[in-house]
Point group: C3
Chain length 226, copies 3
C-alpha cells in the first residue's frame, strides 16, 4: 500500500542484501552458530524498517504484515551461512551487500516517511535511520562501535539518497527511475569511500582507537576494510 | 484483556524470574550498585514485553498499564540484590531464572501476537522476540554479546514453545495446560542444552572468541556456563 | 500541545544540552569524525524523547513533528565539534551538559506521561526513561556500560525530579516554578554526587571493573570523572 510493486521489489532486495550481510558479519566477527547467524541476519535486514515503522506509527511494522520480508531475510542469512564456508575473505561481500541495503533502504525509508507527511527534515532523518538502523543494531550486538559512527561515508551517502528522493518527490518526478538513481548515487559514493579509504578521516594516529571490543583482530569492524 | 487470569499469573511469574535474573547478572558481571542492579532487573524483565507491545501497536505497553509487572520486576531485582550476598556462585540461579522467563515469555508473546492476527510467522517471531528481547538488551548493556547470538539452544527452545502454542491455538486446544506444556518443553530443552554443553556448538578453538568486552573473566557471558 | 511554551523552552534547552554532551562524548571517547559526532549528539538528544513517545503511543514522536528538536540537537553537536578543539579536558562540560539534559528531561517526560494518565508509577518510570534513555543509547553505541547502570546518583536524581513533578501535579501547584525547582533539585543532587564521588559506591577494589570495552583509558566512562 505504501510503495509501488517495483519499489517493493527494491525493498525486498535490500532486505535480502542486509540478510546476507548480517549473516556474513556474524560468521566473520564471531563465528556464531546457525541460529546466531540467522538472528543477526534478521536483525540487520529487518531492524531499520521496524524502527521507521514504529516512529511513523505504522504498527504492526511491514515486517510483520508481509511474510516476504521475513522470508527473504532468513533466506539471505541461510545462503550466507552455507556460502561462507567457501569464502576465504568475507570483507568485500560484506561491504557490498551492506552498501546495497543501505542505498535501497535510504530511498524506501524516505518515501514511506514522506507519505506520512512528516516534513522534509524528519523524512530525511527517517530515511537515514531506515538505512543505518539495522546495521547499527547488528554492530552493537557483536560489540562493535557502529559503522554509522565510525565512517563518514556511510550516513552521508544515505543522506544523499534521501535528499534526491525528497527533491524528486517535491518536483513530481519521483518514480522507479528516480528511486534507482538515488539508490545508485548512494551505492557509488559509499563504494568510492571504501575504495579510497575515505571512510576513516579521523585524527592521525587514532586508527587503533576504532578497535572492536574483541581483542581478536579478525573480529573488528565489518565494513571498514578493503 | 489479552490473557486469562491463569496466564497472567504465568506472565507475572516470567517477569519476576527475569527481574531476579537481570539483577543477579548485574551483580555477577559488573557488581553494579543497588540502582544499577534494579535497573538491569527491570530492563530484563520488562524489555521483551515492551518491544512486543510496541510492535503490535498495543501502546502504552502492558508494563505501563498494569503496575504488577513493574512491582514484580523491582521485587525480583531487590530480592536478588539481597540474596546475592549469600550466594557463592550465581551461575545456576542466573541460568534457571533466565530459562523460566524465556519459556513463559515465548508462550505469552505468541498468544498476544496471535490475538492481533498477525499470521503464523510473525506470531512465532514476536513470541521469540518477547522471550529473548529483555535478555538481549540486558547483555548489550553490560557489554556482552547477547546469549541469543551465542547459544544455539536459546532461541530454539523459545521457537519450540511458540510453535506448540500456535499449533494448539490452531487446533482449538489452547489453554492453561497447553501453555504450561509449551513453556515446560522450552524450559527442558534449554536446561538440557546447558547441562550437556549443547549451547556452544561453534567451530573448535573458538571458545575464547565468545569472550565479553570486559577482560575480567568473571564478567563473561551470564548464561553460558554450568 | 503537550507542554506550555515555557516548558517547551525547557525541553529544547535539554535537547540542546544533550546534543552538546553527546558530541563531546564522541570526540572524547573515540574521536569520531564530523558525522559520527553529530550522529551521537542527535542520538543522545533525541533518543530519550523518542522512546517515551513510542511508549505512550504519541507517534510520530515530537522529534519528528517539531523541527526545532532536530535543529537544536544538530546545532548543539556542531558547536561542540568546533569548540572541542579548544578544550583541553572535556570531562566537566560533558558532565554538566549531561546533568542539564537529565534534569530537564526527567521533568518533561513525567509531565507528558502524566498527561496520558498512565498512573503514578508508569509516569515516574517514563520520566526517568526519558531522562536516561538518550544517554544510555549513547553509551552503548560507544561500547561503554551505560552511566545509568554504573552511577547510583544518576537515575536517583532523575527519579527525584519525576517525583517532585508528580507531587506538584497531584496538588495542583505544577507550573513553571515547580518544573524549574524539580529540575534544579535533580541537577544539584547529580552534581553533588559527581563532586563528592558518590557516583561510584560499588564494592571496594572494583574500580577497574567499570572499565569500558576499549582498552584506551581515555575512552572510559563519559560521565564518571571529575
Amino acid at each position: 500500500m505504501y510503495i509501488d510493486p517495483p519499489l517493493l521489489v527494491l525493498d525486498l532486495t535490500g532486505t535480502f542484501a542486509f540478510g546476507l550481510n548480517g549473516a556474513l558479519t556474524a560468521v566473520r566477527a564471531t563465528r556464531l552458530d546457525l541460529i546466531g547467524v540467522v538472528t543477526l541476519g534478521m536483525v540487520t535486514a529487518l531492524g531499520g524498517g521496524i524502527i521507521r515503522d514504529l516512529c511513523i506509527g505504522a504498527t504492526p511494522p511491514a515486517t510483520f504484515r508481509d511474510w516476504r520480508y521475513f522470508a527473504l531475510a532468513v533466506a539471505g542469512a541461510l545462503i550466507a551461512f552455507v556460502l561462507s564456508k567457501w569464502l576465504d575473505r568475507l570483507e568485500m561481500p560484506i561491504i557490498v551487500f551492506d552498501a546495497i541495503g543501505l542505498s535501497v533502504f535510504a530511498v524506501i525509508g524516505t518515501v514511506k516517511a514522506a507519505e506520512f507527511e512528516l516534513g522534509i527534515a524528519p523524512a530525511l532523518l527517517l530515511g537515514v535511520v531506515t538505512a543505518v538502523g539495522g546495521g547499527t543494531i547488528r554492530d552493537m550486538m557483536v560489540m562493535q562501535i557502529p559503522t554509522v559512527l565510525r565512517s563518514e561515508l556511510y550516513a552521508l551517502p544515505a543522506l544523499v539518497a534521501a535528499a534526491v528522493t525528497i527533491i524528486t518527490i517535491h518536483f513530481g518526478v519521483y518514480g522507479v527511475p528516480a528511486a534507482l538513481g538515488a539508490a545508485a548515487a548512494c551505492f557509488v559514493i559509499r563504494m568510492l569511500g571504501v575504495r579510497y579509504g575515505l571512510n576513516l578521516p579521523g585524527p592521525p594516529g587514532d586508527g587503533r582507537r576504532w578497535g572492536s571490543a574483541n581483542a581478536d583482530p579478525d573480529a573488528s569492524g565489518p565494513a571498514d576494510r578493503q
